[in-house]
Amino acid sequence: MATYLEFIQQNEERDGVRFSWNVWPSSRLEATRMVVPLACLLTPLKERPDLPPVQYEPVLCSRPTCKAVLNPLCQVDYRAKLWACNFCFQRNQFPPAYGGISEVNQPAELMPQFSTIEYMIQEDDLQALKESLQMSLSLLPPDALVGLITFGRMVQVHELSCEGISKSYVFRGTKDLTAKQIQDMLGLTKPAMPMQQARPVQPQEHPFASTRFLQPVHKIDMNLTDLLGELQRDPWPVTQGKRPLRSTGVALSIAVGLLEGTFPNTGARIMLFTGGPPTQGPGMVVGDELKIPIRSWHDIEKDNARFMKKATKHYEMLANRTAANGHCIDIYACALDQTGLLEMKCCANLTGGYMVMGDSFNTSLFKQTFQRIFTKDFNGDFRMAFGATLDVKTSRELKIAGAIGPCVSLNVKGPCVSENELGVGGTSQWKICGLDPTSTLGIYFEVVNQHNAPIPQGGRGAIQFVTHYQHSSTQRRIRVTTIARNWADVQSQLRHIEAAFDQEAAAVLMARLGVFRAESEEGPDVLRWLDRQLIRLCQKFGQYNKEDPTSFRLSDSFSLYPQFMFHLRRSPFLQVFNNSPDESSYYRHHFARQDLTQSLIMIQPILYSYSFHGPPEPVLLDSSSILADRILLMDTFFQIVIYLGETIAQWRKAGYQDMPEYENFKHLLQAPLDDAQEILQARFPMPRYINTEHGGSQARFLLSKVNPSQTHNNLYAWGQETGAPILTDDVSLQVFMDHLKKLAVSSAC
């Protein structure tokens, strides 16, 4: 068993790929019976310090419909200078320059520059945001182009090239404009407007009129800093009982239009900083009357969210346009109330942009998250890439069903595209406008080999992932990952297949399917679907006697899977209770783009226990783990919770930690803090950091996550010293498992 775990780990390390099944059922029929689809989590830009880019063009298979890249799986006839494509079996001649090489990666031609659009909002903590933005200027490479758009009641596109008077173009926040109109109004459709001051212009550097709005950082650093410095709150008065007018929809539309007209298909980020919901114009989420609250899940279910559909449509249109241009949109929303992430989510989701939600721009949560965007890798390059396309090629037995992640379909219908869609399907290529080393897509396949066409023993299926992208150093690069897995006949080799099941990957992939469905379906339907899948999986792979729940066993490679599903059911990705629509959108956004490890943390938070009884240890995410003499550290990805047990809290209150003789207590208190710090350092986005104790109001973050094994309902545990009862009617894992077993062994199902 260890071998498979190692194998999986190795593969992940090397390729950034994890499959739900590592040995593939060799026929369509069998594959469908496996319940969990054949799928993988692909991290296209997994950091590989050991992988230097190869400085020449990839060698492609000459069959026009294939064009797979020469890869280690290809059979190479060195003497004849031929290689056989392992996808279409076309025999190809090597180009003359080749002597024989196994793995190929290519740099690309230079493209102009990479650009960042910044984009901001007037709010109370404007000052903090200004500082963050000014800080970010210093982190940008000097030749990066930046622009500035501010909005409130109006939308202002600031001209950065001018000397003397600062100029900006102003747009009404209520009027939607087409890209053409925006470009006309900004004077982008003509050669430089004559209004500009006469000054020495280097034509080779400024080929576009757009230079007025987008300038290299090093040129306008001072200018922009001044401009940011002079930014004021939206000067329009806000009457009592009204929300400030915020024209986010138009602002975004203008930013998209500006980039569309100036740098199509060049990497660019639109960074939207907003301190509240869009309140006017296209894309408005809520009216400006404060007495009418912003939509809740309840309103949405009752079809009472009057702006939602229209706004969503607006942002979807923008997101699609942005994606088509290869740009991405980040949303930094900091406000205590909702800001319309539900409607705007597609902007980040479809373009691979970031979504950050915080209470205030003046929190370390925002500041550090924002700073982290500009961190650099070991080569000193930004950990970001732009305008990527992911091309997936499969060997004949497989077809591509779809992908779930921060991508949009490129609608390339090749021979290897399945008619059955899972996620975004119907294509073999996707566009990922912005991605970083952790961006991960779930890619779903379908085995199409017919039952009566057996694959020879030892046959391997192959998949090639070709990722074209613009590196942050502005180079165009291609990363090619080719993987192969063995085929196995289910009849004879079920154990093999079973053993090669990656339950972690499978859980995440199923979860992604579930979340994907949840975006369009009713919550309960999704849960029922997940339950059915789980029951079917248990029926298929469990060992049991019919109608005897107690006899039910799952092998090691499946043992954790039901538990994942249990927590998934309770997770904010599928449960909207107690979450605002914005929060749900935020959580789902991150769930759909993080890699496997992070995704698992999201599904089932990790709980560490600290005590005098021994070194820190991971404990069950269960109410029984909440003990008086323990300190707990929970990581839910979005939150880091430190919880002091009742006794510990009392001790701390008594001030033992300050007494020299109780220095060990001080160390105990410090240990989880240090560990939490470590997590905080690495995580993006920065999690909410919660330090609480027994009886503290914030303890609810912990109590809502743990398995409620003890509640006020199961009396046998009530009052006992074994953990903390949770006041909930939710079923516990035990009850869930009992039901699962019963249903799995039932022949009625």
Partner: protein, 940 residues
Amino acid sequence: MSQQGYVATPPYSQPQPGIGLSPPHYGHYGDPSHTASPTGMMKPAGPLGVTATGGMLPPGPPPPGPHQFGQNGAHAAGHPQQRFPGPPPVNNVASSYAPYQPSAQSSYPSPMSTSSVTQLGSQLSAMQINSYANSGPQMAGAQLSYPGGFPGGPAQLAGPPQPQKKLDPDSIPSPIQVIENDRASRGGQVYATNTRGQIPPLVTTDCIIQDQGNASPRFIRCTTYCFPCTSDMAKQAQIPLAAVIKPFATIPSNESPLYLVNHGESGPVRCNRCKAYMCPFMQFIEGGRRYQCGFCNCVNDVPPFYFQHLDHIGRRLDHYEKPELSLGSYEYVATLDYCRKNKPPNPPAFIFMIDVSYSNIKNGLVKLICEELKTMLEKLPKEEQEEMSAIRVGFITYNKVLHFFNVKSNLAQPQMMVVTDVGEVFVPLLDGFLVNYQESQSVIHNLLDQIPDMFADSNENETVFAPVIQAGMEALKAADCPGKLFIFHSSLPTAEAPGKLKNRDDKKLVNTDKEKILFQPQTNVYDSLAKDCVAHGCSVTLFLFPSQYVDVASLGLVPQLTGGTLYKYNNFQMHLDRQQFLNDLRNDIEKKIGFDAIMRVRTSTGFRATDFFGGILMNNTTDVEMAAIDCDKAVTVEFKHDDKLSEDTGALIQCAVLYTTISGQRRLRIHNLGLNCSSQLADLYKSCETDALINFFAKSAFKAVLHQPLKVIREILVNQTAHMLACYRKNCASPSAASQLILPDSMKVLPVYMNCLLKNCVLLSRPEISTDERAYQRQLVMTMGVADSQLFFYPQLLPIHTLDVKSTMLPAAVRCSESRLSEEGIFLLANGLHMFLWLGVSSPPELIQGIFNVPSFAHINTDMTLLPEVGNPYSQQLRMIMGIIQQKRPYSMKLTIVKQREQPEMVFRQFLVEDKGLYGGSSYVDFLCCVHKEICQLLN
């Protein structure tokens, strides 16, 4: 006399009266109280009657009367006989006037005369005029001018014998004479307004006006101060009953300014029924507990706080302590009820909007404006007691897009915000756009320094216009304050935007029924824009610098309807027009103005205001809305009978203007005027004022221009003139020969003024006058007060060569006719828009030297608009005179130097309004004949 065409147009809607139907009033000349002469006096004096009845006089010049010769001779000393031997400009008619002797004064009746009777031969071929006075202590029968003023000698000198006999121009009524007479009798005196229905001095007469219960004539002038009692009478006479109201007229410093009444929170006391404001016309009764409204007769309780006992003659004890009880004009502090949304108004704002398209940059205008604004803004109008002006300022530049500027005081640099969405323009900023000038001075100066450079390389030719106004209006709306936009514009707005205009100037339409189209706006965008502007108290003042057709009819609509002013500088040239423009701009910035005004004219029972003319907008039939009204703007109001008027109570008018002051105070300005009523037509004719009549006729005709063919309008004006005079002749004048032209004294100069109006380029197209110029003049006249319209239609022509350098008085004016010029003379002509200095070819060299500092006529460079400052009395005196003429005029007059017999003289001649026009328009004499003929026809 067909008036059908006018039926739709209110000013002309008086039905055709049947002159013959009304009984003659020969025996009733004036009411008994009047000091008029007895009936018998009306009878023509014997000798005159004899000659006058010579309607059948045989053709041929009768021997010139020795008296007349003597007269002329006497004056020849003062006014050297002059002749104009040069070739006449276009037609030889002019030359026929040439030989006439100048000077007219003494041929006129004495100042006290109440009627002048001019007798005309019924045939044009044989006209004779007799003018004599038939009443008054100074009888002065000697003043008669003899019939057949055809001085044989000079006429023959001029060339071949005249085929027709002409009237002696000196024998027909002279406006100059009338003005001088009034000046002589009433000038410099105190005119107290204590008597109802008294006729004020002429606008041309300087006097001190003392408000004693009726509004000063500076505020209200009426066409007649005695209304006919019945509408039948009014129809019979066809004299328009109208008042020209200039509610914000400037009060000279030697007269007391308006008192401000503050009744605190209870606000002004008003009649419960008609809502008239407390005024001297309210009659207190029941010991002061109640008062009867003079307008609607409703009896109201006196509010407790306002109670006061009455004295023995039924007057309140505090009569002289309360302005509203004893004065004709005063102001009330308005309460919140009188404010928009019941909120006190914000102080107004001025927004300067500069066209920075290529042409304005190139001719240096933008630089000039920016440079001069810096000093001009120091003088924003303020209340006397205030330290600095409450008016805030804002700046916009534009070509086909708009640039707003943030000039907030805490900025190091102004910020520019470009609005390119001209299709649906909006205001991009609120805070920092409208600022206090003093606080933001450095930022504003910084901005004004930078604007010319910023656009120095602009080659944008296209402009927008409607969006500019829209932007300004939206800015004021957003700031919730009234205000004024100063737009400096130069071209036809052809850029794609609302209000886009195309060049539609079509000379072919002239003299057709479609000519009116030229005066109508091209699109209705401007009309609705103007409505919006008025609704938000946004007045638009437009400075136009056209080098070609810019469609003034369209561009000028908003300024007109919002109480703004339109200034036009054709082919602006920096060195020539700079001063005129800057004077206008300075004057316009500094002038007294009220914003966001609503005027209501209330009348006593029996008549009411029916029509209004001016820079106004009306959404209903009573409320006159004005985005702003300044000291030069007048509203002409026409009245009609509802019912009978009583001679006892008279006709009372109360004009109330609710407005916002320059410091943001809401106030009511009340003007009250009582007029007499009479059932005698003669009283009516006695109380007319020709200057006001012409103002009314001009405005109603110029309004009708939009809907009627010009020919019809001219006909109606002639007919109405004839009708008014015929009615007088028939009902008031003593019987005389049909061939006699008898003019009521008060309307002596009506024909000459009417002829000037008819000849104005608005009503009579001339090829050299552009469509824009006509539209411009039409618009100007619509808001003119009586003094301005008088000067505009009958320019002032002053002989300069006879200047007495020791006197500070203006020289006596001469009649606007070429025959009054002499080649040894220098004349100054002004009409309120233009000023000409005409130099005869033989002008005295010492004068030339004195004025121009050059040795001779030939050395004079006419390419100047300012006279050089030469340190001698001639120069000083002339420039002083020009200063006096310019003073009080709303428009700065551009000086043109005209040398006799040089090309520019053609322009100058158009202003010699008594002569036959170069391109049409009859001479005064011809017109008089024509009117006479009409009258004769009516009488028959």
